[in-house]
């Protein structure tokens, strides 16, 4: 359905916010956190399309992002390919791979699908750790700088701009996608696969397509993070990273593009804010997440839904 409110207005608002934020940055560390937040947000937006809209759980997206990043890095650093070309090749490989994987595993539902994606994720992270010849093993490997058309992304500002542009574009494209017939089709699969099937939708094909889209975005964001930080280790592809991504989706709000953004930003920034708690950092972090899930079971994005609803009611009653 075409939404009443204007998507473009949201995009402009987001762009303005992203332009203003850097004025409050005191040093490079702030940039680093902001860039990491945005790249996480990208992966989570893709994962949210799969989990929140199409209703398919994946506990392996950290591993997909990590594997995609490794392919890009090995191609560019070890074999000296152009970074942009390496990312492109990596995206192609990951798209094919995820399409092949999706065919058998997306037949599974609920817990079983979670187990299957979990298994694949663990296999990927073990492979990355064991294939020392290519990946440098558990010590990781350093990554050459990101050079595009002769321009080297060396300072944080350039990276910030790149990630911000990518983020704004992705959010715009996804908002459009969600509000198109394609988006409605995805939501129908979430609600009732039988219903979707009965109106002629090839459910398994579209599930695969969404899976591929989410893996492609994870690959791009994961690769960019490796180039940005100049280092990559199997930690990127670990189970805990996959879980972190799922928590971001759920905390932000399943089935909301902006929820994914909130979830990613909050879960990336919060640990940094909590460092003053020192030993109790993880405890406080855990308590905050539990509290959010108890009081906002539909995620942080639901906070804004309630405000909008109240506004509507007020305007209707007056």
């Amino acid at each position: 359905m075409l939404k009443k409110y204007n998507i473009n207005a949201q995009i402009i608002f987001l762009t303005v916010v992203l332009m203003i934020i850097p004025f409050f940055f005191e040093n490079d560390f702030y940039y680093e956190i902001a860039i990491l937040s945005m790249l996480n947000a990208l992966i989570v937006i893709g994962l949210n399309l799969l989990m929140g809209y199409a209703g398919q759980v994946s506990l392996g997206h950290g591993a997909f992002a990590g594997l995609g990043a490794y392919i890009s890095v090995v191609l560019s650093t070890t074999y000296g390919l152009n970074p942009l070309l390496s990312i492109f090749i990596s995206v192609t490989i990951m798209a094919l791979l995820s399409f092949l994987i999706s065919k058998p595993i997306l037949k599974l539902k609920g817990h079983y699908l979670a187990m299957a994606t979990l298994g694949i994720g663990i296999i990927i992270s073990i492979v990355l750790e064991v294939e020392e010849e290519f990946t440098g093993g558990s010590d990781g490997m350093s990554v050459d700088s990101f050079v595009v058309f002769g321009y080297e992304f060396s300072d944080s500002t350039a990276w910030y701009v790149l990630c911000a542009v990518l983020l704004v574009f992705t959010i715009w494209a996804f908002e459009n996608l969600i509000n198109s017939p394609f988006g409605r089709l995805l939501r129908s699969i979430h609600d009732s696969e039988k219903a979707a099937n009965s109106v002629g939708i090839d459910v398994s094909y579209y599930k695969s397509i969404v899976f591929v889209i989410s893996v492609v975005i994870a690959t791009i964001a994961g690769s960019l993070y490796a180039f940005f930080s100049g280092f990559i280790s199997p930690q990127e592809a670990s189970f805990s990273h996959s879980i972190e991504l799922v928590v971001m989706v759920v905390l932000g709000g399943l089935g909301r593009v902006y929820g994914a953004l909130f979830g990613a930003v909050i879960l990336t920034v919060l640990p940094q804010l909590l460092t003053s708690f020192e030993d109790y950092e993880t405890l406080v972090f855990g308590c905050i997440i539990i509290a959010v899930m108890i009081f906002m079971p539909k995620g942080i994005a639901s906070l804004f839904d309630n405000i909008l609803k109240k506004k509507e009611q007020n305007s209707a009653s007056s």
Binding site: M1, N176, S180, K194, A195
Partner: protein, 255 residues
């Protein structure tokens, strides 16, 4: 238009449908009735490719559609509804109807992301047609309500309308009035009759005898997976076998 010839489905030792054959004529309401467990829903599931047919064939207008998946059948002009509601609860009423138009809509991912003209035009066109369908059954006021908040009766009708949106030639309705009150039943049977007037053929599985007798052109009676009797409503009511199956053999001899 639909030819079902000696289809069989076995679950373990139980033959749910046993060598059943019948023909559905174009533009008619053909009803399948039978006591609980006679195999009616199994039959619908076989025709719509949910279950694989053990043996036998299903032909539509001379083309073999045996074991073709439900979603592929929609493109051949067959659409079904379910005994137990299959409505997308988180979608609004109009979105559920528009889902029915899915096969006509542009779903190219790139064009969707960039809000291409074809996407917007499709949305506009089918929103209009969807609203028209909702008007037909007086649900236009509920168009923007989330389906999960609506009553069972409304959703039963919505499911038929959604199936109708796929513009089928043959509709399979699996117990469309189960659980409805007499007034709602009346509304649904009127809706079915309107549908048939639009040159859609209807294969109806139902328990509500009053409705069946009133609107059916042709009836096939099933019992224990086999065809018990066949004919017009009048033929069937007077058939001894049918009375036996429904009321027990004592009902006849006691008279």
């Amino acid at each position: 238009m639909l030819q079902v010839s000696s289809v069989t489905k076995q679950f373990g030792g139980l033959k749910a449908v046993d060598e059943l054959s019948f023909n559905v004529k174009k533009g008619t309401i053909h009803s399948i009735i039978g006591p609980n467990g006679a195999g009616k829903t199994t039959l619908v599931n076989m025709i719509t490719g949910v279950y694989k047919v053990d043996s036998g064939t299903v032909f539509l207008d001379g083309g073999d559609i045996t074991n073709l998946a439900t979603n592929k059948l929609v493109h051949r002009g067959i659409c079904r509804t379910f005994q137990h509601l299959e409505i997308c609860g988180n979608l609004t009423v109009i979105e559920n109807v528009m889902l029915g138009f899915d096969k006509y809509m542009d779903k190219n991912i790139l064009r969707s992301c960039f809000r291409a003209k074809s996407i917007l035009e499709d949305e506009k066109r089918y929103l209009k047609r969807g609203m028209h369908l909702l008007d037909l059954i007086g649900l236009a006021d509920f168009a923007n309500k989330e389906a999960k908040n609506l009553s069972y009766g409304i959703l039963k009708k919505l499911e038929i309308i959604r199936a109708l949106a796929t513009t089928p030639e043959l509709m399979l309705l699996d117990e469309p009035v189960a659980g409805l009150n007499p007034k709602e039943t009346e509304e649904v049977s009127e809706l079915i009759q309107t549908v048939v007037a639009d040159e859609v053929t209807v294969l109806l599985v139902e328990h509500d005898m009053k409705m069946i007798m009133k609107i059916s052109d042709h009836i096939t009676v099933m019992n224990f997976g086999k065809k018990l009797a066949e004919g017009t409503p009048k033929d069937v009511v007077n058939n001894e076998e049918v009375i036996k199956a429904y009321l027990g053999s004592g009902a006849l001899s006691g008279r």
